[in-house]
Symmetry: C2
Subunit: 328 residues, 2 copies
């Protein structure tokens, strides 16, 4: 592909795009550790994305997108829509490049995420979830400012950027002398990360995990067409995975690639957070623990060397303390 | 020095020994991340040793020591004395080499540490702290078995091994393009880590942090001779730093090298643990947070690029939840 094709906003994201994103990400972000965790005598490799500067993998896609803006686009700023991790990714990348950023966030997002986004210099516009239409609010902001929308998952740059996680993990396994096929199990919200991983690692087996009540991607894959979540009021601790419906750009990648999937419960998520606390000494947020929860619960059975995404660690202290449950 | 001199149990530990240890450690342990943390507009570089396979830096010294045992010594096994992190380091290294390990541990050590040591296949002998003499118990075990004592800090291999943390951090700063002088602030128990760092980084400024009531190294440095802790009953959350007195091998290194020091309170430790939770998404145990606590409290003021040790993350859930204090 030509450089112009690789920057076309209407392009299909590609492995070539992931490789281009990797070169850009590697310039500014050291690889996050790939940590071994023994589960029933098998080593599960955990990609510790909470150790990114913003505490989540979302920095990858946001950096790939925003660093590709033209001078003219940079002047008009960027607009993001996010419950918090993508918000921080966009704010971080914009700050680094001296670009103004406005983020539309649900008012019930974790306090830690709203505060961190503001601390990175972004303007935060709150909306009520569910009820108000966040995409409409973003569209109005863009009409006012001429800014560029950086969508949380339905964007070719964002998908390619998230895929760099997979390239990094493969390289780290190779460094450790571990060859052979891999089985990636990813936490799934809108399908930005899992779509990127599908492109990045074409030989890998791919599974996705979604939280109970927010399993629209899994149901879409089963149905063969995009269906939304049934009840947007369904409570979940996984704020990072509360996407009402996936986009065609994500669905088209995933529909022929997802080998298996799992819907995980809040109790399974809590158990995974405890294991990460006790055995890896890491703080994983509920949405970032879905993939490990699926493996620990036996809902996804690895068919090759397992690599799971610990996608983020932005969780309020109160929620963390409640989830890891001192008495449990 | 000759290979024989570098393996002499009565040698003074040396920088050459640290370099030798580094080559051995690098073969089996990937470097732990060196993570930036903004403190009052200054970047403090945090060495995340809780991400070691045993959740603490102690694996470095234990590996250097135990991997140097002769075939004959290996057959007779090793004996360690530790509240838990060194215990796991010894157990891990012994298991990897197929050597039997017996560890003398205080019965009030964190449950997580006792269980983890047993899970690594070591035999655990519990003693009452304070009251029973752990060194006497270890001496009796050694008399029975002919095993080799792997002391937690007063051993040339252990000191050299811990020093590898400093070499790694220096290399990581260089990779990030950060040059110039560094100021290492280390959590201090018996002086194994800080002694190793002093040897590893001869140009660095070195500070140590000890917990309230257990500041015997700081008092020894002030006095000019080794003095024990005043009250071995003084309660502290920092089980990893509860050493009643340092050893001459440690004191001799530190006496002309420690530029400044700080005694930190339980409240300052808790504040540091919260910062590590919220901003780095890591679990640090109380004793592993002492160095950061000293910086955050303004008790150690960095005079060059600050590097601090987040020494370990082996903390019981109950203690962690209490220390990070949901309501605080």
């Amino acid at each position: 592909m030509t450089e112009q094709e690789l920057r076309d906003p209407n392009r299909k994201p590609s492995r070539e795009g992931v490789l281009r994103a990797m070169a850009k990400v590697a310039e500014i972000l050291p690889p996050t550790p790939l940590l071994p965790l023994e589960v029933d005598g098998q080593t599960v490799w955990c990609k510790a994305e909470m150790l990114q500067p913003i505490g989540a993998f979302k920095i990858r896609g946001a950096w790939h997108r925003i660093s590709d803006l033209t001078e003219e686009e940079r002047k008009r700023g960027v607009v993001g829509v996010s419950s918090g991790n993508h918000a921080q990714g966009v704010a971080w990348a914009a700050k680094r490049l001296g670009i103004s950023a406005t983020i539309v966030m649900p008012e019930n997002a974790p306090k830690a995420k709203i505060e961190a986004t503001r601390a990175l210099g972004a303007k935060v516009v709150l909306y009520k979830r569910p009820g108000e239409d966040r995409d409409a609010i973003a569209a109005e902001l863009i009409a006012q400012t001429g800014g560029t929308l950086v969508h949380a998952f339905g964007d070719p740059w964002v998908i390619e950027g998230q895929g760099t996680l997979g390239l990094e993990a493969e390289a780290q396994l190779t460094e450790r002398g571990i060859g052979g096929p891999i089985h990636i199990i990813a936490c799934c919200g809108g399908g930005g990360l899992s779509g990127g991983l599908a492109l990045a690692c074409p030989e890998a087996t791919l599974s996705i995990a979604e939280p109970e009540g927010w399993d629209d991607v899994i149901r879409s894959l089963a149905t063969g067409e995009i269906v939304p979540v049934i009840d947007q009021h369904h409570p979940t601790p996984c704020d990072a995975l509360q996407t009402p419906r996936t986009y065609p750009i994500n669905f088209d990648i995933l529909k022929n690639r997802v080998a298996s999937s799992a819907v995980v419960t809040p109790a399974e998520i809590a158990a995974a957070m405890r294991v990460v606390f006790e055995r890896l000494h890491l703080v994983v947020e509920p949405g970032g623990a879905a993939a490990l929860a699926a493996v620990l619960a036996g809902k996804v059975v690895p068919v090759a060397t397992p690599v799971i995404t610990l996608s983020g660690g932005n969780v309020d202290r109160e929620t963390f303390v409640r989830m890891i449950g001192a008495a449990a």
